[in-house]
């Protein structure tokens, strides 16, 4: 008797669970769709193919940075240095390809490699020097990389990149920007990495309970170093797209880009306390920001006011999340 009742209960729970799971998974997506609907009503151009591809192109840099940012945030950390690393990476590439005339492929590797190297240093600072929080190591790196980017070219921009370098940021496959295709591929890879590999699961474990992760035999330091290296690497990659887009490298590139990346990750449902967040959510978070900026541009709203509106959206999105969690947890 008791057993039967128990099973019935489980069924009921399952039903309720799926509704909730659906909301949990697609809550931010519903927000995105609503946002698109409103913008489509307010402005006829919004849904044109041209504009949609525009959004895809405009969002790709932040999309690459945000997916890099997701990793440190999953481990209850942060990476403030991605904007500066982007600048340093593209300046290094500029010097190598334009000033020194190196092969453009070598240039691409230098760009991504510089990013990865800076990220690796972030990881080493955090784990080997035992700096108390990545806020500190990456704040330091943020200034160091920016300073270096300015120093190595005496603050001058570099233009005139060969096509091979510009390809990622400026080409189209039919109507679809190549940079957006790159984003999709990277996101699929990150999704597989986080959900289907042991290291991916360790990232969640470290963010969820670092002591338990350590005692479970996870090499916490190594995973953290990898996390920051990947985050830096994504900055380098985003830099490539930026150079292609504007056909120049300038030392103040990427200023404040970390803020939009953090915003995308958080709007996408990741928790600052670590252990919670998905690639899918980050995608939606990135798109919400991109759509919002695009729509506000179409409506000729000034960038100052845009800032204010995006600030409100960040707070509102996280607040909705808090409400949802409170409803499911506290009771």
């Amino acid at each position: 008797m008791a057993n039967v009742a128990f099973d019935e209960n489980q069924e009921i729970v399952k039903e309720k669970k799926t509704v909730k799971a659906f909301l949990n998974k697609f809550g931010s997506l519903i927000g995105l769709i609503l946002l698109c609907l409103i913008l489509a009503i307010l402005n006829r151009d919004f849904l044109s193919l041209n504009n949609i591809m525009n959004i895809a192109r405009q969002s790709s840099i932040n999309a690459l940075l945000a997916i890099g940012m997701l990793l440190p945030i999953l481990t209850a950390g942060i990476d403030l240095s991605i904007g500066s690393i982007l600048a340093l990476s593209i300046m290094c590439m500029g010097i190598a390809v334009v000033n020194m005339g190196l092969n453009p492929i070598a240039g691409l590797i230098i760009c991504v490699g510089t990013g990865a190297l800076c990220g690796w240093v972030n990881g080493i600072l955090l784990t080997k020097l035992r700096l108390p929080h990545p806020f500190i190591s990456t704040l330091g790196m943020m200034n160091i990389a920016r300073g270096l980017a300015l120093i190595i070219t005496a603050a001058a921009p570099i233009a005139g990149f060969p096509m091979a370098v510009q390809f990622l940021g400026s080409s189209f496959a039919g109507p679809i920007p190549v940079s957006f295709i790159l984003v999709v591929i990277i996101y699929i890879l990150f999704h597989l990495f986080l959900t289907r590999t042991a290291t991916g699961k360790y990232i969640y474990a470290i963010g969820g309970n670092r002591d338990a992760a350590h005692l479970s035999g996870i090499n916490v330091d190594r995973v953290l170093i990898l996390v920051y290296t990947l985050s830096g690497l994504m900055s380098g990659l985003a830099g490539l797209v930026l150079v292609g887009r504007v056909n120049s490298a300038f030392p103040l590139a990427g200023l404040d880009y970390e803020l939009d990346a953090i915003a995308a990750v958080i709007i996408g449902g990741a928790s600052f306390f670590g252990g919670v967040g998905t690639v899918w959510g980050t995608m939606v978070g990135t798109l919400i920001i991109a759509v919002l900026r695009n729509g506000l541009n179409l409506m000729n709203i000034t960038s100052d006011l845009q800032k204010t509106i995006i600030g409100i959206v960040i707070i509102a999105a996280v607040f909705v999340d808090v409400l949802r969690q409170r409803a499911s947890k506290k009771q």
Binding site: A2, K201, H214
Partner: protein, 498 residues
């Protein structure tokens, strides 16, 4: 009954996301009685008391305090009425001192603002002395073992001017001596007219101090009995739904007696003496001692959990160099830690994640993990340990304490290690599920693993182990065969022969 109840619940129900976990329970506490709550893991004991303390809201039903209806909007509210609570899970702040933790939120003041540190320190000392403890109030919580932390948690209850003290498994991490002391304190409180609601899975303890016992099963009340008119067997049957044939399942004795683990010259921090011993295949080695004797510290040192490990460790005759847990796991160790919330669980992850996290490597197919195999193995352990609820995707946070403990055990069983160190493995696990855990441990031994059990429960050690080491102040004071061991000898060695 003619005596007026101090606290009475009438037809209380509570659901979590559509799942009814408390079903129409009525329950009363009389002035000056010890009312015991008994039930399997997940029966709803902790949920029920959290409604009495204002930590959870009540979905349906009413609550009366001295016959007047009350509604608590939070724990502070319940404290105002004189309800103090010792929760099942520790709620201490590791970086604050013992004294600061005890008075957290109820600091004593000099004048309007200034803290009265001297008075708080004095009182804290007093509270701890009542529990037979000599803990320095200025020590940080993080410097204490789990047992001592539990005592600090209990001491917190004394800061409330209580008429009712609720204790949810207060003795789960205490050894015999501390438990005895606590039971005496409870007696004293009762004589002062204070009522107690008491939860524990240690049935002989309940028989000793309880006046009435209410048994819960699957969220519903089975019965309320007078302790004098019942027996242990009857209680177990009411709670589990069937009789238990054996508390400590037997295992056939094995011929293999190869030395699996040898420790030489291990020195613990703050201890002058060294530790050397061996553990063999086919036997279970028990480690006994008082809270703070260095049992956990020794296990952590062997496992490489803390920075340095001074001694030599040999695994099946081969010397191994262990600097961190990863090395220990590679050498074949599994260490089931005593602090499940702090060091064992990933609370916001699924049961499957928690069970598999230490053995991920075994499920690799090329670079990817096989999700199907991961879920299969998780399902198998959930079934074997009778974890309730059985949903693999449930978050660990939503499990009852005992079921969380089972998940921690499952995580390490899944590693297929050769040497298992269990630190208080059955803490908070109900009598029925304990037998399942013992069966699994026996199976490990059968399969040739080396098993060590650190336990504060002497009956558990004497029931399960072939040999018992006794520790005192960071060293081994006795090495007893099962036949030689009895409570008296062990206690003597545990207190250093005093």
């Amino acid at each position: 009954m003619s005596i007026q109840a101090l606290l009475e619940l009438r037809n209380i129900s509570k659901s979590f996301s559509g799942n009814k976990v408390i079903k129409n329970i009525s329950f009363s506490v009389l002035p000056g009685e010890v009312h015991v709550l008994l039930g399997e893991n997940g029966a709803g004991k902790s949920t029920l008391i959290k409604m009495m303390t204002g930590a959870y809201t009540i979905d349906e039903g009413e609550m009366y305090w001295n016959s007047k209806p009350v509604k608590f909007s939070g724990p502070a509210d319940a404290m105002e009425y004189g309800i103090a609570t010792v929760y099942q899970e520790l709620n201490l702040i590791p970086e604050l001192t013992v004294c600061e933790n005890i008075f957290l939120g109820r600091e004593l003041k000099k004048g309007a603002r200034l803290l009265d540190r001297t008075k708080m320190r004095e009182r804290a000392k007093n509270y701890l002395k009542r529990l037979g403890q000599n803990i320095d109030p200025d020590k940080k919580i993080s410097e204490l073992g789990v047992g001592q932390q539990q005592l600090v948690e209990i001491a917190k209850a004394f800061t409330v001017d209580a008429k009712l003290i609720i204790m949810d498994e207060p003795t789960a991490s205490l050894s015999e001596t501390e438990t005895e002391q606590l039971l005496q304190t409870v007696d004293e409180l009762i004589r002062q007219g204070i009522s107690i609601v008491y939860i524990s899975h240690k049935i002989n303890e309940l028989m000793e101090i309880g006046d009435r016992i209410t048994i819960l099963r699957d969220g519903a009340k089975v019965d309320t009995l007078d302790v004098k008119e019942t027996s242990q067997d009857e209680l177990i049957e009411l709670m589990v739904g069937r009789a238990l044939d054996e508390k400590y399942p037997k295992r056939p004795s094995l011929s293999m007696k190869q030395e699996g683990l040898r420790i030489e010259n291990l020195k613990l921090k703050n201890s002058q003496s060294i530790i050397s011993f061996s553990a063999y295949q086919g036997e279970i080695l028990g480690i006994s001692g008082l809270v703070g004797a260095g049992r956990t510290e020794m296990a952590r040192a062997i496992f490489g959990a803390d920075e340095k490990n001074s001694g030599d460790v040999y695994v099946f005759g081969k010397k191994v160099n262990i600097k961190k847990p990863k090395d220990a796991i590679a050498a074949g160790f599994a260490f089931i830690t005593e602090d499940r919330k702090g060091e064992g669980l990933f609370l916001d992850q699924s049961l499957a994640f928690n069970i598999n996290i230490a053995s991920m490597k075994n499920y690799k197919k090329g670079m990817m993990l096989s999700n199907r195999e991961l879920l299969q193995s998780a399902g198998a352990y959930i079934k074997a340990l009778r974890v309730n609820p059985q949903r693999k995707e449930e978050h660990a946070r939503n499990l009852s304490g005992g079921n969380q403990q089972k998940i921690v055990i499952a995580k390490w069983l899944a590693t297929k290690a050769k040497i298992f160190i269990f630190d208080e493995p059955t803490r908070g696990i109900d009598v029925g599920a304990k037998v399942e855990v013992y069966r699994l441990i026996n199976q490990l031994v059968q399969e040739g693993a080396v098993v060590m059990i650190i336990s504060s429960e002497l009956p558990e050690l004497m029931g399960m182990c072939d040999r018992i080491l006794v520790m005192n102040e960071g060293t081994i004071t006795a090495d007893l065969k099962k036949e030689e061991a009895n409570q008296e000898i062990i206690m003597k060695a545990a207190t250093g022969g005093k």
